[in-house]
Symmetry: C2
Subunit: 299 residues, 2 copies
């Protein structure tokens, strides 16, 4: 089945202590779409300006990502620049230039309306609503978010939580949303806000899933070298949704393994700047790391 | 097989935002010994003053812990007091009164000398050496440590690393010891210092093992309520060594499962102040949580 992915489509300028890379292909939807493309056909929804490099359009196309829903309009592409500390865990934003994103209204092409799997990657909750409003009963909807929306768009986000099957957020966002330090209790509180499945991302420590049949502790693939973690969370949820959309049987019985696939794609993402590592990956390399992860967690 | 455990035997006064508990039974050896006692006979080496409450001697005895190697001498028992922040992850030391520990020389009773499994729980590396010096070819020796020894006794610690089979330390200590942020690379550097097995404790995120046949990602048991994490790391390594000493076959093939048992005992430790929760646990309750942890990590 196809996966519809809406989110940001951006140019990222990323600084680490080792290198500086201007205007990489980035944004939550770009990372999630490429990650999902290893498993399933992807329909992308986003917006870019006329400065958006043609090579990035070609990159989407190389991954068979349907870009009928990608608006290319006069103006500048959303540009984010940030800097990582030496330990690669903390980053600070240097500049955010919204550009054409300021006036974005996601309009779905007719061919997108009945997509079964929907990933509302990180973007303003109002826009996530707007995508759902246009769709015809999707089978499974997952939303991701970021601290910014908890700070400035909480009412929209709370309404969204009542409309989605799964909600993905990171540790600090889970604590901020629930005012609860303990993640087990935080997940329980988030269920009460709507989502049947709650996934808390913990970066290098993996992720936890809380669902109707209890919890799942999902490991992260251990990396010897992290070049740039930007987009790892988006790759995780994109890979997860891509894999999930190809499985038979209940969501419940397939979500754990889908998270493992997402985790592996995220590990590749961290090994290069922007999408440079992810987009060169093969399905065989992904399967290999999934096998390794099985061996690494067996007891 | 028996496990010999040397480390601190202390009185802990612990403050959290919810409660204050003075003069609990604590110390690395106390936590590790009680944890190991659920699986195997334990021989304790330590020192306390004449103020050491008889009820704590009775607690050791109730767990069939051999205390022939526990010196009871004139003076005051080592007393530590600390305070946890609301999130229970950060703590600060309020006072450390060494008392009788200042002049401690661990002398092993004759009946201890041939113990097969040796846990050098957190204590000055010089004392850990002194215990090994007296022993007759133990089968498996593991040492734990703390940041203090990295700061003030590095030469002794480095010498110790060449004498032990396994070394256990937490994330920040691994980074401090190796000057390496990435834990996979940190573990490799620690192997070069001597130990065949390196275990990095990550608190609520579990632990990782690095050994001859690669890595193992060991999950932590997810808790809804953490009352007091003091001693959780000691319980982990104590439970691990206790369980390991009862297994047949190679260390390599049994260490992963032993870590899971350690992790479960550590989870019980966190659910009460000091040893109040751990010492009431049953083997059946431990086995139950191990089963749950299997279910929580299956994919």
């Amino acid at each position: 089945m196809s996966v519809l992915i809406v989110g940001s489509t951006a140019l990222d300028s990323i600084k680490t202590h080792k290198a500086e890379n201007p205007r990489l292909l980035g944004g939550s939807a770009s990372h999630a779409a490429v990650a999902a493309s290893f498993f399933a056909p992807v329909k992308l929804v986003g917006i870019v300006g006329q400065d958006f490099p043609n090579r990035y359009i070609q990159l989407y196309k190389k991954h068979n990502i349907d870009i009928e829903g990608l608006q290319i309009v006069p103006g500048k592409t959303f540009h984010w620049s940030g800097e990582y500390e030496v330990n690669m865990n903390n980053r600070r934003t240097l500049a955010t230039e919204l550009g054409v994103f300021e006036s974005f209204t996601p309009v779905l092409p007719a061919s997108y309306l009945k997509t079964g799997f929907v990933l509302l990657a990180n973007i303003a909750p109002g826009l996530q609503h707007h995508v759902l409003d246009q769709m015809t009963r999707p089978k499974f909807v997952v939303a991701d978010t970021m601290d910014l929306w908890l700070n400035i768009a909480m009412p929209d986000l709370l309404k969204l939580l009542r409309r989605v099957d799964g909600f993905v957020l990171n540790e600090s966002e889970a604590r901020q949303l629930t005012q609860e330090d303990n993640l087990v209790r935080a997940a329980k509180k988030i269920h009460k806000l709507g989502p049947k499945y709650v996934i808390v991302k913990k970066g290098e420590h993996g992720a936890i899933l809380s669902g109707p049949s209890g919890m799942f502790i999902s490991p992260a693939y251990p990396l010897e070298k992290v070049v740039d973690p930007t987009g790892a969370g988006d790759s995780f949820v994109g890979g997860m949704m891509g894999h999930l959309s190809t499985t038979r049987g209940s969501i419940e019985s397939n979500l754990r393994r889908a998270m493992i696939y997402g985790s592996v794609v995220a590990s590749f993402c961290c090994e290069g700047f922007g999408l440079t590592s992810t987009h060169r990956v093969t399905r065989a390399a992904i399967d290999e790391r999934v096998k390794t992860l099985e061996a690494l967690t067996k007891f």
